[in-house]
Symmetry: C2
Subunit: 342 residues, 2 copies
DNA sequence: CTGAAAGCGCTTACAG
DNA sequence: CTGAAAGCGCTTACAG
């Protein structure tokens, strides 16, 4: 049904080599034969079979992206950026969720791609090792890891979290709690670390009861905040490991009849647009998720072209997005909308 | 570097045909040679090259999914469901965004897949035609279209929207406005249609000024609601084409100093989890997005296996998720959280 | 049960 | 500039 290079060659009365040359544009061909081939290509609506090209060229022009789970806007933005960037370079994108993935499934996917991007979860360590051992160009959405030849692309989680805590301290809060992300998230680890360091630098003792575990979910934010508010001495401010947790925490505060930020301040992380549209608008740390996806793809493409360079790490800046939930004065309506667009 | 079938054959002292047979399991092989081959496979860590298999078998065991834009949780859930289902069947998933996509890019992607799933946007009409013309198994995230041999998988947008309007009418509201989704969304069209029909059935004249265009975004919800509230006679209730619009509308109402739902009721569409964590919790129409992704994949796989069957359409039920923004009495905290889990 | 061979649809040295 | 041929790594009739 679909025309192959043989059909075109026959119709244009040339060899398949010549067809390949004019279609790829990689070699000189007489203008006359070129025209004849192009006409045949057009008439037969010929398009080279990418699978056959993949086999011949030993390159699929496809990249694989492994994300923990496609269930929130976070992964969507990363995939969106990655796909856009890949497309700009003539590449396609294969996606897979980390949860319940076997190494075999993973390697089957990777075998279809020229390289792979792995999420910053500790639970993909096995996959990372397998990919690198195979010599597959690999970038991790996280920091460089000693001894592993994979590049890293990551937001400045530590710096962002630090800025958030700093901001809360400037508000005069001293009793600052933290609802963490999952232990398996390296990003959550960095944010937690920044939280601890910031308190210490300001001579505020770390209280165990102010540290509650969350899972990057509304529900865990709700539950975590409830526990904090049940404490004999509840915190004045809560730094949440992501915006979903923060929204859950806000609802919990309301359920306890507490005003946010009047009675308890809340800060999130991610800078999701939705945070600008809740009441009070959520102060949060913006990280450029789409850009992370794009840079990850660019890095991977660079790595594919330069297999022998030393591992490279790119840290993208985060930015404190000050809205209302931290206790800052009400922004005008216009400002809230502007914040949302950021 | 990576072992091929030839390496295994040599090591096991058999032909590549035999290796292929034991690895695929498609044919009888002596237990003894089988063991020898398996040992070689193991020692060389051999895995068949899926690209070569794709060429030989004329099947890539890969599916393509085209979504308007990966920028919200909506696309994430569809991709998530699709990937999970594809994996369950040993398939991989290639993704691409519709925006700025050329037919050529699209067909290059499709050539790597055994079939394609297309979003329910009118702007992919060209792609749909191209895929079907090529004989590519195709499913659309929308209703069957006359004359087009593609299957359809879609939520009951009409029924869901109808239920939402009905609910608002039962609250006693008569001045009900609608902020639509983009014209290009068939789902938005269905919801709009249900809105109009429901009003008519209840003898409520349609007011042009109560119909404002949105784009499935917080921002358009904010802007649309502002326009509605500027009206000499603002609506008592607003049905929003999706939850993002609804959140934007809620913030606008607050900016106007209006109580939701006391002074203006708001209902959304999608049933996103976040809606359960805003104040007031958003009443909305739940649609099973992950399931839509899964069913789309199942349908596509069925179509690949049965190329000559008549086009099939699957309509998945939607469900009104009653929370607070419609004016229903405050649910207990537990209920709000339960609603979130739904 | 097993092997030799053809075929899947390309690309690209190698000759001419 | 152009063609014949080998090669990419598999699968699967076809013989034996």
């Amino acid at each position: 049904m679909k025309a192959t290079i043989y059909d075109v060659a026959k119709r244009a009365q040339v060899s398949i080599a010549t067809v390949s040359r004019v279609v790829s544009g990689h070699a000189r061909v007489t203008e006359e034969t070129r025209a004849r081939v192009l006409e045949a290509v057009h008439e037969l609506n010929y398009r080279p079979n990418p699978v056959a090209q993949g086999l011949a060229l030993q390159s699929t022009r496809t990249l694989a992206l492994i994300i923990d789970r496609f269930d929130q806007v976070y992964p969507a933005l990363i995939v969106g950026g990655a796909e856009a960037e890949a497309r700009d370079h003539g590449y396609h994108l294969l996606v897979q969720q980390l949860s319940d993935l076997s190494v075999d499934d993973f390697l089957r996917l990777v075998a279809r791609a020229d390289g792979v991007i792995l999420s910053g979860s500790t639970s993909n360590q096995e996959f990372l090792q397998a990919a690198v051992a195979q010599g597959t160009p690999t970038v991790v959405l996280g920091h460089l890891e000693p001894g592993i030849r994979a590049d890293g692309v990551v937001a400045d989680n530590y710096g962002g979290a630090q800025a958030a805590i700093q901001h809360l301290l400037e508000h005069g809060y001293r009793r600052i709690a933290h609802i963490t992300g999952p232990d398996s998230s390296r990003h959550a680890q960095a944010r937690l670390c920044a939280y601890k360091d910031a308190l210490q630098e300001n001579n505020i003792p770390l209280r165990e009861e102010y540290l509650v575990k969350g899972t990057y979910s509304h529900e865990s934010g709700y539950a975590g905040m409830s526990r904090l508010l049940d404490l004999p001495e509840p915190p004045e401010a809560v730094f949440c490991a992501d915006d979903l947790i923060a929204l859950g925490a806000m609802l919990a505060a309301e359920a306890y009849g507490l005003d946010v930020p009047g009675q308890v301040a809340i800060v999130g992380f991610d800078g999701l647009e939705t945070g600008a549209y809740v009441n009070p608008p959520l102060t949060t740390v913006y990280q450029p998720l789409e850009e992370i996806g794009r840079v990850a793809v660019r890095t991977l493409l660079w790595r594919i072209a330069n297999p022998n360079e030393e591992p490279r790490e790119t840290v993208l800046p985060t930015r404190l997005l000050i809205r209302r939930s931290c206790g800052c004065p009400a922004a005008a309506r216009a400002a809230a909308v502007r914040g949302a667009a950021a």
